[in-house]
């Protein structure tokens, strides 16, 4: 039996003004993947392909051992899916939705659902129509979480939430993570949310996966190095350097392949290392996207995870 929650292999989908190309993405069971991309990068399209809601033009999609979209019904019994643009029925109450879900899913955890009602401060008798955006999102998540699915696919669930509601939702998702068997794909353009929750990070831009690694590797390998240089200093072009800015006697290097030897290399060239700064996930994301776009513009091709032109 596969230890992958899902596996996208060579998946492509072409629209008139957008192309999702050659997506290769895997998630180990029990892992939490943050799926980061700007608006229109292809996050939702990828997720919809995973859910069988969109058929890929080419490639293989396997979710929890089921081929998608052919076996989507079997797969969906085990998947909890919530997206930013998903709505419950306006006319019905939260309680009706809970009963409806319970009538479908044998694994529905009524006690957990009641606990979530309290934590999210929701009233079962309340109609969806009268709920705020935050309450609607929380009600939607309740329907997904109380099913205790093997795989949670959350497409920008925190978008548009106020800080308090976001905090509540993220806290609940943190609790979900205590279950080692559960896998989560969490898409967002909010890197702060991803950084809190996820152990795997995937960046997508313009329909291409530009990076996919575990979070620690990401954070450990990216650094911003500030150098003092003089006019004669010629900085070498090193592998992994995605940006090199010089202004007068100062230079700022952004690298995705940092190690201690890198500082020594610059020192040998006559530069003085003033600071080696740890980068936030947001800074890494922006740098990675810019670097990828520059590579595409310069060569018409993409870069691989090591920064080499493919």
């Amino acid at each position: 039996m596969s230890d992958l929650a899902f596996n996208l292999s060579g998946v492509s989908k072409t629209y008139q003004h957008f192309e999702l190309s050659d997506i290769n993405l895997q998630l180990q069971k029990g892992s939490v993947m943050g799926f980061i991309g700007a608006n229109g990068a292809g996050k939702s399209t990828t997720i919809r392909i995973l859910m069988g809601l969109i058929h890929a033009d080419s490639g293989e999609v396997n979710v929890l051992g089921h081929h998608m979209p052919k076996e989507q019904v079997s797969a969906k019994w085990k998947i909890g899916y919530a997206s930013e643009d998903m709505r419950l029925y306006d006319k019905a109450t939260i309680g009706w939705h809970m009963d409806f879900m319970q009538s479908i899913y044998a694994d529905w955890d009524a006690d957990y659902a009641k606990m979530l009602l309290q934590r999210f401060d929701l009233i079962p008798q309340q109609a969806i129509k009268g709920l705020s955006h935050g309450q609607r999102v929380k009600a939607g998540l309740l329907m997904v979480l109380a099913r205790r699915p093997q795989l949670l696919i959350l497409d920008e669930p925190t978008t548009g939430l106020d800080p308090v509601a976001r905090h509540e939702v993220l806290n609940e998702l943190m609790d979900v993570l205590l279950d080692d068997e559960r896998s989560i794909l969490f898409s967002s353009h909010n890197t702060g949310d991803i950084e809190q929750l996820c152990d795997q990070i995937t960046f997508i831009d313009k329909g291409r996966i530009i990076q996919s690694q575990d979070k620690e590797t990401f954070l450990d390998s990216w650094r911003r190095i500030r150098l003092d240089i003089n006019q004669d200093t010629i900085l070498p072009k090193l592998q992994g350097v995605v940006e090199q800015r010089q202004s007068g006697h100062q230079a700022v290097i952004t690298t995705k392949l940092f190690d201690d030897q890198l500082s020594e290399t610059y020192q040998k060239c006559g530069a003085v290392v003033r600071a080696v700064e740890v980068m936030t996930l947001e800074e890494i994301f922006v740098a990675e996207v810019q670097s990828s776009r520059q590579a595409v513009n310069a060569y018409g091709k993409t870069t691989d995870s090591k920064g080499a032109i493919a």
């Binding site: 919809r48 859910m51 069988g52 809601l53 969109i54 058929h55 979209p69 989507q72 019904v73 079997s74 969906k76 019994w77 998947i79 909890g80 899916y81 919530a82 997206s83 643009d85 998903m86 709505r87 419950l88 029925y89 306006d90 006319k91 019905a92 009706w96 409806f100 009538s103 479908i104 939607g140 997904v144």
Partner: protein, 224 residues
Amino acid sequence: MNALMIKKLVSIDWYLNRLPLTIYAIVGLLALVLLNMPSIAAFYVGTVLIVSAVIVVGSHLVFVTLVRDRKSQTLAFVMSLPVSFMDYTMAKVITNLVGFLLPWLVLVLGTLMVIHTSETIPNGLMPFSVILLLELFVAHVLVFTVTLVSESEVWAIVVTTICNISVSLFCFFVANLVGIGEHMQATHAVFNGTFAAVIAIELLCIISLITMTFILQSRKKDFI
């Protein structure tokens, strides 16, 4: 097909529309009472009421079960359930067929009963009435299948309007049809070959529209 989930999806639509459907049923029953009253005025009011109720039920079903699913973004919720797009299609076809057929059958039976029992209305109107009432059903099937396949509110409105305008043209056409028109004022109903042919064409339209819907839906690659 996924019978359990199709049943669940149909039950959602019935639950969410139970109030308007109950109101339409009451209007239909009221119309039947009027049709049975020994007054020409009551007959005309009853006829207009019941035909209107059937047309409104059809439009209501299309807009609340198909158009609103997309507009109010509940389709994503439905499609997150263990259903395929063909299950969704089947559920919507069942909802729209059954939801329309119930009041429509009352209309057909009520109309035939009134014509049969009334001393002032000639029985010769029966074939014409059946053809006309079946046309309402064909029109409803056309509207909901076009809406289902096109996923477009605009198309739903356009086809609904065309169908409603076409009712009077269709009446005119059938009333002037050789084999139908000349028997309309007869004291007994004449169910001849022309009648059978028109009914067969109408039924064929219904079957073709539904079959085409399933074929076109099965070829779709993007559902949301």
